[in-house]
């Protein structure tokens, strides 16, 4: 969000400016690739033991907090999700679904959500760890670049005015109102906070809980995994944070769509974003 250029747009009310630098754009799309594959290969790994626990081990006096299973009934197999004591019939999606050839798939997550599609724990692990390294290096580069280059301070850190306007910004988001004019050139405060939470809380947490599942990394400092509640708690937190990230992605994509899909996509591909020069007091693109 720098180096504002003169408008090349024939409409005088629009100004096209350079919004996203090349390294940020590359990091963004590498993230899209990594997170998609990590999500899908992770569900493939989960299918090997579709149960989650709290504590150090899976075999203790406390039962699983979540299981996905298939139970056989006279009418055929039914998919069942048990979570915190509740039982939900999830036939067709979880526990029992259909493979592309129409035959029943009795794994927890359906084949269209996993990488690879047909169950293979060893292959899912190969995908998961390759892209986990890529995500980690991408993330470390991003944090270094945006700290040194000023992106973090300039574009992401909320200023005083931002903090004062948090309430209004959240209300505007709920009503699908988006900043226009000069205000649209910078991230709004809700957007800033969402990105900061994802970059500095959710992604580090998903990486650390992933590392906590490694028996070798657990040995780096004996007992550190207990800070997360033990290895099985770490695995459960990993799973929960993943779904929070999925929630973030869905809201992010929704916001991009309602505030100008083509404009945003172009800015994340070429760097150039078109903003109105005249503020629209109604402030809505819908």
């Amino acid at each position: 969000m720098n180096a504002i250029t003169a408008s090349t747009n024939p409409t005088p009310a629009k100004v096209v400016y350079y919004r996203h630098r090349l390294p940020i754009r590359i990091v963004h799309w590498v993230n899209v690739l990594c997170l998609s594959i990590l999500f899908m290969s992770g569900l493939g790994i989960f299918n090997a033991h579709p149960a989650l626990y709290f504590g150090k081990s899976s075999y203790s006096s406390t039962p699983a907090v979540l299981t996905i299973s298939s139970v056989s009934t006279p009418e055929g197999p039914r998919g069942v999700l048990w979570v915190a004591g509740y039982q939900i019939d999830t036939t067709g999606f979880l526990g029992v679904s259909k493979k592309p050839d129409g035959t029943p798939n009795l794994h927890a997550f359906p084949s269209w959500l996993t990488v690879p599609g047909s169950y293979s724990l060893s292959d899912s692990r190969l995908w998961h760890f390759f892209f986990a390294w890529l995500l980690l290096f991408n993330g470390l580069f991003y944090v270094a670049y945006s700290t040194i280059g000023g992106h973090l301070r300039r574009d992401l850190a909320p200023n005083r005015a931002d903090i004062a306007g948090i309430g209004k910004s959240i209300r505007d988001h709920i009503r699908f109102r988006h900043p226009t004019g000069d205000e649209a050139r910078r991230y709004n405060v809700t957007q800033k906070l969402a990105y900061l939470v994802v970059i500095f809380i959710m992604l580090p947490l998903v990486i650390i809980t992933g590392m906590a599942m490694s028996p070798a990394l657990d040995a780096v400092m004996a007992g550190w995994v207990d800070l997360l509640g033990g290895r099985q708690s770490a695995r459960t937190i990993h799973f929960i944070v993943v779904w929070l990230l999925v929630g973030f992605v869905l809201i992010h994509v929704f916001e991009v769509i309602v505030s100008g899909l083509f404009n945003h996509l172009r800015s994340m591909v070429t760097g150039y974003f078109a903003a109105d020069t005249t503020p629209d007091k109604k402030g809505t693109h819908l």
Binding site: S60, S120, L121, A132, A219
Partner: protein
Amino acid sequence: MKPTNTGRRRFIGRSLGSIAAILATGCDRLNQTEWFLKVLATGENVTYGIHRALIPRKAMAQELTPADLSPTFRTNGTSSPDSPIYQALAKNNFADWALQVDGLVEAPQKFSLAQLRSLPSRTQITRHDCVEGWSAIGKWTGVPLSQILAAVKPTAEAHYVVFHCADPMEADGSTPYYESIDMEDAYHVQTILAYGLNDGILPIGNGAPLRLRVERQLGYKQAKYLMRIELVKSLEGIHGGKGGYWEDSSGYQWYAGI
């Protein structure tokens, strides 16, 4: 909302769905090519290299307390080896069993169960992490592998320790289980040949008479029903060449630190 918007939304929704489908199909296509699996497998080299570089050689796996023990230690994989030789040994309480240690060593030897029990032992309460995702906690008693190695004196050429087991993995009774570790793990304090579990004799379901505990790696490295330990320079000559049964048969990583 204008009708044109509804059409646009539907278009966008379908586009997102198509992107997911293309991604899934693309991944599946790549997953069937040998070259791409090789690219993905480089991740294992990165993991192994970084772990060996950053994790101290002597870093200890967490040792837990009796309160953490799993009520019963789950039997996984083979529950009783389906081989006449093993069944005969078991019938006689493994009195005729002996661990053969050979390969690139100066003094190949056989160790009876009584001999192993008479050596200084180590007891440790540790967490067993299966590649599938579950964990169980057990109390293991056994001989540190380093003591056995000190007795047989590996040559300078010995880079890997291979464990040959009694349990046949194929339905026709062939391909006994096998696994291997590097010398760094072999000499680790917590790497023991366990003959006891939870203050009792190691049950058959958990690998009697002797199993490996290599605590900084996943469950499939913890070879059960040990018959022979072989020191080798390279894993190439061992069965399929990848160092373990699951590595050769199903493409699991040899380095199972994650």
